[in-house]
Symmetry: C2
């Protein structure tokens, strides 16, 4: 066997411990398959004395991740510290500059500094692998880098945040409101004490920006992602979706349009019989549409020690085998700065839910506002909800608001927003109109 490949691992939380456990379990077989011994040489974390499910005595210890990154003792620096700046960034930069390969699970860092770090890796002729940064155990990065290369990618989308999908699944199954399910998710450990990063859509947007770069040969442009979280979804939306043949998912979608690249994370109506609709609970998925392959989807665990370790280790084995590629497929200097396609230019179908005062002429006025914007309707349902809508009066009372749900044909977001603003101004609705995009799948 050849020379060993020596790892330095910085960050010994859940994922770091998982990587050490995986290597303890399967390191020997992996070394055989890679053709050279895979050795953990040194580790680093903030607090050596913290209780961990692993024995660290066999590894050199350093408190300084940046020093570890530069150490002559290692060939690969595995960054599992997290955070979009600070020591994670400093140590990765130090490693790349010192000619060390880097493996990281840090989506926030790459979403903000991906293109620059990729350039640094390429200048130094080393790998910057980040399979674990997108959708945990799902090997989507390698699939896009290597397996789907023969395609022009037209769209990439997926369920990229397990916390949101868990909450939406429970809301759908149990008819309960967001706040209540969130609280339970926090109690069960599926949501953080400060959940805004997940439920607000930022985490999914980090991952989407990396997928978009891989798909379209574009510079990573996290600040171009349009983001809407799941906080405003009501039980009434799930009921309407069910009636109309849809499910509600927080989808991240990136596609090329005439206006540039559209990157968006928002609650989305997906047809009940689409594969993505069947992905429930904390599970993630990523689908890629390509001109030759059609559509390929991968489903699996988006987080957790074991799945994330599986991805980190596959990145390490690639390096051990000498497989080093441009991090974002296209070399960093050749990645294109696409126009950001504005959301108002987005084209698609829309779901609209109004709470309409039951007065003569109200409905005609609303229909007129839609017609003014040339929005045509696929279906209109006026129905008594299974659960009460907020702001809805006694339905026996004349003039009390009635829920009205509409599905539009293909139109633009500009037209929808303009129509809804006018409808709200006209005063025939008792609350702000609710709108959700429909994704064609």
């Amino acid at each position: 066997m050849s020379e060993p490949i020596r790892l330095g691992i910085a960050g010994l939380g859940t994922v770091g411990a998982g990587v050490l456990q995986l290597l303890a379990a399967h390191g020997e077989r992996l070394s055989r398959l890679a053709g050279r011994p895979i050795q953990v040489r040194a580790v680093s974390a903030r607090d050596r004395s913290r209780k961990r499910p692993i024995d660290l005595s066999a590894y050199q210890w350093t408190d300084d991740a940046v020093a570890l990154a530069r150490s002559a003792e290692i060939d690969v620096f595995v960054e599992l510290i997290g955070g979009e700046d600070g020591v994670a960034k400093a140590s990765i930069e130090a490693a790349l500059r010192a000619g060390k390969h880097v493996v990281t699970a840090n989506k926030a860092l790459l979403a903000h500094h991906g293109t620059a770090l990729a350039a640094l890796a390429e200048e130094n002729g080393v790998a910057l692998n980040f399979e674990a940064a997108v959708a945990g155990g799902i090997p989507i990065v390698k699939t896009m880098r290597e397996s789907l290369l023969g395609n022009e990618i037209t769209r990439v989308y997926g369920i990229l945040n397990g916390t949101c999908n868990y909450i939406l699944t429970r809301m759908e199954e149990e008819g309960r409101p967001f706040a209540e399910v969130l609280e339970e998710a926090q109690r069960l450990g599926y949501a953080e004490a400060d959940p805004s990063f997940d439920v607000g859509g930022t985490d999914a947007a980090h991952k989407l920006s990396l997928l978009a770069s891989l798909a379209f040969g574009a510079r990573v442009a996290f600040d171009h992602v349009y983001i809407e979280g799941i906080e405003e979804i009501a039980p009434a939306d799930f009921e309407a979706a069910d009636d109309l043949g849809y499910r509600i998912k927080l989808l991240g979608v990136a596609l090329k349009t005439d206006a540039g690249i559209e990157q968006r994370v928002h609650p989305t109506m997906v047809p009940k019989h689409s594969p993505v609709a069947g992905v429930s609970g904390v599970t993630n998925c990523v689908a890629v549409d390509g001109d030759f392959v059609g559509s390929v989807m991968m489903v699996g665990p988006g987080a957790g020690a074991g799945p994330t370790a599986s991805s980190v280790v596959s990145d390490v084995v690639d390096i051990a085998r000498g497989v080093v590629m441009a991090p974002f497929i296209t070399r960093a200097g050749e990645l294109v700065s696409y126009e950001r396609a504005r959301m108002r230019a987005h084209e698609g179908g829309y779901y609209i839910r109004l709470s309409v005062y039951d007065r003569p002429g109200a409905f005609a006025k609303i229909a007129g506002r839609m017609a003014e914007q040339e929005v045509s309707l696929e279906s209109i349902v006026q129905r008594r909800p299974r659960t009460a809508l907020p702001g809805l009066g006694d339905r026996g009372e004349p003039g009390a608001p009635t829920p009205v749900v509409m599905i539009t044909h293909q139109t633009t977001e500009e037209a929808i927003r303009t129509a809804l603003e006018a409808i709200e101004r006209d005063g025939h609705v008792s609350e702000k109109p609710r709108m959700m995009r429909i994704e064609r799948l």
Copy 2:
């Protein structure tokens, strides 16, 4: 850029034409990414004059695939002829012996001769890549070879034949019998004139034997696959499945048990809410259970020119990049000959449908036969079917047969078969008992 990588393509049917079209569309970009020009140097097929959707004038032509395989003009031999023996086998062997890399979509050939061909490739230090041989456009081979390496695989399973899944989907949705749907599928081009290879399960078994080898480091053992086709499934089975919360899929499943490796292709009850249940129509899927990653599933097109070409080309690009691995992960000489786990040793839950004469004591006798084999029941439903069962008399008539459906707890196939044989012998049923395995997902 370095030296070009020169391809010889044998077989210019749908897939061969697709590969040429893909390279015409994206060859330049692929060459850039691979770091060297990818060139089709020569092609071969039986009939040069056949009308094809591509211009062949730029390529050398030879009628002799074996001569092409050995040609000094090529570096990679792409075999798209098909067939488990004959010219496909002869030309691949010739190519490997001449030190040419081989890319093939030929599952039948690999199912029968995979281990020997892998050994030949390794002896000659060349690649034998077969992404397109398993599940068409789904990049499952590379995912198992490279991305999931850090796992001990415990089970691999999937929907591996699009024709069967199409027929089952139509039967389920429309409540129609097998023969009628098959005939329609043949008319629409979704099934061959002689459909036995697909509907009988052989094609899925070919693919399963390759997945099992990749998963367990085992020699390819197609003759160890237990095979049952979909011909016997009746509308009444779909109705019962629906009532009980299941769907019916032709699943290929390979797993390690105490008795060896179980490889089986058969109609399977899968829970309605499992991801595999949502895979409809001609779409395929493959799921892999690993000790660290948990479960990862890939969904996509299992056949067709574009998807298959996408896989073939990714195999070519890997070779162009210098990535050459043991075809079945473990080196051929180290692949293990596992015991074949006999189906009678299979453990799982079972679905049983009986047509029971409504006579005093009949049901007690049946229950007794199950008890003798220590088979315990999770549920029993005695119901009037939505459609008539074959062999069922006038239900008003005393003593006429009544459909009875049972779901068992975990038991062995030995116990189930013994109980059903006794039940049939006892004469209280009007037709042979129907049995289907339930997969835990």
